[in-house]
Symmetry: D2
Subunit: 162 residues, 4 copies
């Protein structure tokens, strides 16, 4: 059993025409996975609907608690990219759990998006990696302790010296 905890971010953004705004909405991750015809047992748990820039210490404590209280050992967390590294660091040191954070640069509801690739990558990585915290983005696996989001180039990279 794999649990997917959704917390918001670009991956979950929907468009509200009535207000001409673009906000975090109900996560489409469960729907995305239906067409992948998976035989691995997955449970999606919606936890937060936050832009990653608005994620507070209290939110991170809530995610940590959700992970610790979960009965599953393998957990994927979907999250906004801007502070994914910070949340990853806030989840360090939980014994016996493999945690993989992922997200997307373009909303999952777009016709062209990196969302499905990243979620598939995270679901695979969470089954193969030993306990610890990881980030799965752009086809690579990162260690949150030595990673940053390069905002100008819109991608994750390993810190120099690593």
């Amino acid at each position: 059993m794999i649990e997917i905890i959704t917390t918001g971010g670009t991956i979950d953004k929907v468009y509200f025409d009535a207000k001409s705004t673009y906000e975090v909405g109900e996560s489409p991750v469960g729907e995305l996975l239906r067409e992948a015809n998976l035989t691995v047992d997955i449970r999606v748990r919606p936890l937060l609907r936050k832009d990653s820039l608005e994620m507070t210490d209290a939110d991170r404590a809530q995610i940590r608690r959700a992970v610790q209280e979960s009965a599953t050992e393998r957990i994927v967390i979907t999250h906004g990219t801007d502070t994914m590294v910070e949340t990853g660091r806030a989840l360090l040191g939980i014994a016996g759990k493999t945690l993989v954070l992922t997200g997307a640069m373009l909303p999952a509801r777009f016709r062209s998006t990196d969302a499905l690739f990243n979620v598939a990558s995270a679901i695979t990585a969470v089954q193969l990696l030993p306990p610890g915290v990881y980030i799965a983005m752009h086809g690579r696996i990162f260690d949150p302790r030595t990673t940053r989001k390069n905002v100008a180039e819109n991608r994750f990279e390993t810190l120099a010296g690593d």
Copy 2:
């Protein structure tokens, strides 16, 4: 020959992850049409990139001028839905031209969107209707003089008494 003049609106909205905002961008209408394998001759002309709520009288005058100066008699105008009716009225009375306004409630770049249906409907209507100004939305053809956008229900409707 059919000309498509793009002026912005939800149909053209793209997502900028760097700024976590959602703005009018380069119109995807030309790209949408490529896969439709059309044999009718179409030219896409990008004119404005405006949210329809920000459309001014000067913008409408510019659209009217573009229509009058166009060598083609059959013109589709993509436009935001909030003030599509107003722009339609501002284009009344141009002799010898069939004008069809259309747009979308969800961006054309979404996986699920009304954009392609509406553009296809407008391209068809502009070939079949006599000179005048029309709105093609939700599978119906409206007269801008007797139409309004029902914001609460997010759809166009004919004014009572019509």
Copy 3:
């Protein structure tokens, strides 16, 4: 009210992995239209599931009967492209009905397909045209009496001299 009668053809083809074959299946037209957010009243009626090359005189008689017995005056018929013209001719001479045939070169279930454009075009044309039989393909409206499918170039064209 517009009725859509589905008869099969490429537009309705699905892929059966178990048999590694590709066959006419349940028509996806109704599903396609759901995301277009239409306000025009549409009823989809599945009639046949035939490759257009296998369409017989008896099938065409059945389609003609279905059209004549329908309570609606505006009917779209989805059909394979290879013999769409022949079926169009077999439907000539029904008083008081506007009939528009359409289909697709690529199955509607493909990510990139002409199906939605063509169906949108047909739904629009059937509302605007006087009684008679028409073909809506590639953004154009054809008269089946003077049209043929150019198989080599995979498109419909008006017969020379028309």
Copy 4:
């Protein structure tokens, strides 16, 4: 650097309207990956265009040779599902290479398909697993020595007793 060798199968199937048939065509895997915005270095190498039921011993020898001669240690092989297990077994015993086979139950060009999920899963697994041969399907990783395709249920499963 990861190499992706494409050999055909359902994942690569395209539709030829001219012949109303559905055949293995140019692999869409490279195109699929472009929108995933990967930062891992990937090279796609088209090798065969075969239905997996038509894959011969000579074909498998050719795939084995391609793997052995490749300069890369991490190789994904896209393949039809019917004989993916057999090809996996034919690739056993190559020292120092991690090989992951994957494919799809529905063509990658479909709007709804398992292709992208499976390829993403394979690209992730090939980076995390030690040398050996694996199958990535439906979100799980299989060992070809103890796996079979359950044709009736259209999915891979581990042999009883494993």
